[in-house]
């Protein structure tokens, strides 16, 4: 077993490379190509998961060498720390069902000649994210980071004949590269001061100090924040997710975002020494903003995948908020509280990956069956796709934080950490905790509304279009992964104690954290080790709900009166799809309540023929203001463009001008350096 773990990661990378090569060779045989690429991906994921689980259970990091470039003496080595292992495990847990799903889904969604490209990009993406998680030095990390960005961009641009896809891929590339630029500068500053390129030396916490430390933090915050999709660095996310094939969107949401989170953890939170109070505040504010604004924007979307993308921003915000709370606790020397907050945040990484993966896969099935992403054209799908509907419902309940499912424990833990933070930290900044808790409560409620709307409008009532009326259930290969993820939602929700126990090793491996006593109350319950903490056992809910269900079933079974089927009463009218509640109408009250945030623009046109009181047709158009795009990014882009125009004067296209630059530079250098000795 030990030997297997030692070679597990190199073997996984080798499997991925072989898979990519085989996929490329099989370019002409789409079906074989699909199976090869996805089965290879599954094999590699199983290998990495074995390593990850071993590290989590034993608590012993696994390190090794991937490659050595002799000429430049650059070493590509890896180290699976417990933190890396946790993210690696999440990646494997979601990557495997997504790969299974993709076997059937790509057959439908990807044109045959592109199968090899998409299949290899899928493997490249997963492999590079694995490499990001386990990299033990700057060079390895940045290489993997960049490959990850490029692979994602390629996958987003799969439908490159469409302008929107190209635009989304371009936006993603530009934003990612700005982020990567920040990272490179930050890493180089650290490396220059530490005199080393490997992470253990760089992240000892005492490499830089003072203003430089603040600067490095800011660079990392922006650099990783872009990938984590937190507001205000989120604008690429709602564009890129809908453009990619659905299984890739699931991968991006569950995996790519976590790469950013991992970066925030490893380098911002626990890489630069004891966190500054201001950093913690920045994390908490950004987390709160992302959570509340993400869910508010999600509420008004009619594009199902765009809605899920905004919800990803929300969950990313919750995770960052947990990390921010932990950093605040650390800044005030509260290691136990910090441990609870970190556990909550890391648990949410896992839970979000599982239910968001499930929801994106469900959305993929729906989009495949109806041919549209617009929920206003769906409806009545539950009758036509009962299994997909059930799994989507489980995902929607989980993301809404309903007890017994996995969204609940991590949000509950986050609440506990926030509520306790107020009493155990001094000063005015502690006000951040109750404010964050309040906003988080609002976020959870709004998320529930959002998914009631998403599920109700698309799955319930009557079909709104012929495409929806003719929808068919997805094939077995697409249903099984959803079933697996839905089961995982239930298991993780019922046994949060087991998850927490696994997490404890991860939490205490981080510098400055410790737990006083186990946070678990058996496999079923959670009870963080501070007396003021509440304890919770979701299993009790399960028993109550199960009992109620059994009672209801018994009551129905022994009822005397006969069952009678009748059409729904419609006040004497006829029920058609046109009488249904629309998605826009559903979110209208919230739109009006939060008018100051949305700043909607409405336009109502009535086409009249006889009298203005009897319009023949009413057209309603509504648009919410893209605040960040308009007030942050448009001016920024304008500034950059103006700067670029100014630079163009330098590039005159005249050889003489260029030669003059050389001459002037030579004279300046000569005068400057020549006179010194």
């Amino acid at each position: 077993m030990r030997e297997l773990v030692a070679i597990g990661l190199p073997a996984a990378f080798a499997v991925r490379l072989l898979t990519i090569a085989a996929t490329m060779l099989l370019v002409r045989r789409a079906q074989t190509c699909r199976w090869t690429s996805m089965l290879g991906s599954i094999a590699a994921s199983i290998l990495t998961m074995t390593v990850a689980l071993t590290v989590i259970t034993t608590g012993q990091p696994v390190a090794g060498l991937l490659m050595r470039h002799v000429a430049s003496s650059i070493v590509f080595d890896y180290a699976v720390t417990p933190l890396s292992a946790w993210f690696l495990m999440v990646l494997g847990l979601i990557g495997i069902p997504i790969a299974v799903y993709s076997i059937a889904y790509f057959a439908h969604a990807i044109a045959a000649p592109r199968t090899a490209l998409v299949g290899s990009a899928f493997n490249v993406l997963l492999g590079s994210v694995e490499a990001v998680f386990v990299a033990n030095g700057i060079i390895t990390f940045l290489c993997a980071w960049e490959v990850m960005t490029l692979a994602t961009a390629a996958l987003v641009a799969t439908e490159h004949q469409e302008l929107a896809s190209r635009g989304a891929a371009f936006l993603y590339l530009v934003m990612s590269h700005v982020g990567t630029g920040c990272l490179v500068v930050g890493f180089l500053v650290l490396a220059a001061h530490a005199g080393s390129l490997s992470f253990p030396d760089l992240l000892s916490g005492e490499v830089v100090s003072g203003t430089l430390r603040q600067g490095v933090f800011l660079l990392f915050f922006v650099g990783f924040g872009v990938k984590a999709g937190v507001i205000p660095m989120h604008v690429w996310l709602p564009e890129a997710h809908p453009a990619a094939p659905s299984s890739v969107s699931a991968l991006m949401s569950a995996v790519l975002i976590t790469a950013g989170i991992y970066g925030l953890y490893r380098f911002c939170g626990f890489g630069l020494g004891v966190p500054d109070q201001r950093w913690a505040l920045a994390f908490m504010i950004v987390g709160m903003l992302s959570a509340i604004l993400g869910v508010l924007y999600a509420l008004t979307q009619t594009d199902l995948k765009r809605l899920l993308a905004y919800s990803t921003i929300e969950n990313s915000g919750i995770i960052v908020l947990g990390l921010g709370a932990a950093m605040m606790a650390l800044a005030h020397r509260q290691p136990i509280l910090a441990a609870v907050a970190v556990a909550a945040s890391l648990m949410h990484v896992l839970n979000h990956g599982v239910f968001k993966g499930l929801l994106f896969l469900g959305a993929g099935s729906v989009v495949m069956a109806t041919g549209t992403r617009d929920v206003e054209h769906m409806g009545g799908l539950l009758k036509r796709m009962p299994k997909t509907g059930l799994y989507f419902l489980i995902g929607a309940l989980a993301i809404s934080g309903v007890p017994m499912l996995n969204g609940f424990p991590s949000e509950w833990l986050t609440f506990q950490a926030l509520l306790l933070g107020f009493t155990s930290t001094p000063g005015v900044v502690r006000l951040a905790f109750p404010i964050a808790a309040g906003l988080l409560a609002l976020t959870s409620a709004l998320a529930a509304t959002c998914f009631v709307r998403a599920f109700g409008i698309s799955f319930l009532a009557l079909p709104r279009s012929t495409a929806a009326a003719g929808a068919r259930e997805s094939p077995m290969l697409m249903l099984a992964p959803q079933a697996w993820l839905a089961a995982l939602c239930l298991v993780l929700g019922l046994f949060p104690g087991a998850v927490l126990r696994a997490l404890e090793g991860v939490v205490v491996s981080l510098p400055g954290l410790r737990t006083a006593a186990p946070m678990t109350a058996g496999a079923l319950g959670m009870a963080p080790a501070l007396s003021a903490f509440d304890r919770v056992v979701p299993g009790v809910f399960a028993i109550v709900v199960l009992g109620a269900l059994i009672a209801a079933a018994l009551l129905t079974a022994f009822r005397k009166t006969a069952m009678r089927r009748a059409p729904t009463w419609a006040c004497g009218g006829v029920l058609t799809a046109r009488t249904e509640y629309t998605a826009t109408a559903f979110s209208k009250p919230l739109l009006m309540i939060f008018e100051s945030i949305y700043r909607p623009m409405r336009q109502v046109d009535a086409v009249t023929e006889v009298s203005p009181y009897y319009p023949a047709e009413v057209r309603y158009r509504e648009q919410i203001e893209p605040t960040f795009e308009r007030y942050l990014y448009t001016p920024l882009v304008r500034l950059v463009m103006r700067g670029a125009k100014g630079m163009r004067v330098l590039q005159a296209g005249s050889l003489h001008t260029y030669l003059a630059y050389v001459l002037v530079l030579a004279v300046i250098l000569l005068v400057w350096l020549g006179g010194t000795t």
Binding site: A666, V667, G674
Partner: protein, 215 residues
């Protein structure tokens, strides 16, 4: 005696560069370059005789045959063939150019005192002349528009580098010297052909028209 000859030759090279700046006729400019290279050959020979570095005789022979004879001959032939004999409109007029070159010479001499070898009398002059020559060569490239003048400017820069190499340092390794010589010949050949092509295409050898190729 030796140092007097060296300083005289070096100054002669500088003067030839000044004359090139002040000259508009292409044929005369080419001949001036030939004279400059001849003076460089004399410098090499003088050092070879005075310090007993016999490998410098080869350098001198190469310099004289290639740069004082072969290259000027080839360039003269090119000019004859394309039938353009005058630099019409330099970017900067002659008096202003001469003033700028004066400034560049001051910079060159000022900087030369910063070098360790600059402490010795002859070395000081050689470095000063070489740096001035280098800067004037660059300046020629910037202000002149005819491709032939550009080539001559490049060759002047190359002469400046050679002057430092043989006059101040122990000299470049022979193989490097040989390589550079052939490089120069090749460059001149290629550029000569290029000039003919440019003239054929644009009916001018004004390289500022090349900017039309920019997208």
């Amino acid at each position: 005696m030796t140092s007097n000859i060296l300083i005289l030759c070096a100054t002669g090279m500088l003067v030839s560069a000044y004359l090139m700046v002040g000259q508009k006729a292409l044929l005369t400019t080419i001949r001036l370059y030939g004279a400059q290279s001849l003076l460089l050959g004399i410098v090499a020979t003088t050092i070879a005789l005075a310090e007993g570095r016999h490998e410098l005789f080869v350098t001198a022979a190469l310099t004289v045959t290639l740069k004082a004879a072969l290259i000027p001959w080839f360039l003269l032939r090119t000019v004859d063939r394309i039938g353009i004999h005058r630099e019409i409109e330099p970017a900067l007029n002659v008096p202003a150019s001469l003033l700028v070159c004066l400034g560049l010479t001051v910079v060159g001499y000022r900087v030369s005192t910063g070098f360790l070898e600059g402490a010795r009398g002859v070395g000081h002059h050689l470095i000063g002349v070489a740096l001035s020559l280098l800067l004037i060569g660059l300046f020629l490239m910037v202000t002149r528009k005819k491709a032939i003048t550009q080539i001559l400017a490049l060759l002047t820069v190359e002469n400046a580098v050679f002057l430092v190499a043989i006059g101040v340092t122990e000299g470049m390794p022979f193989i490097v010297e040989l390589g550079i010589s052939f490089d120069v010949i090749l460059a001149v050949l290629v550029l000569g052909i290029l000039v003919q092509r440019i003239v054929g295409r644009f009916e001018s050898m004004d390289i500022s028209r090349l900017s039309k190729l920019k997208g």
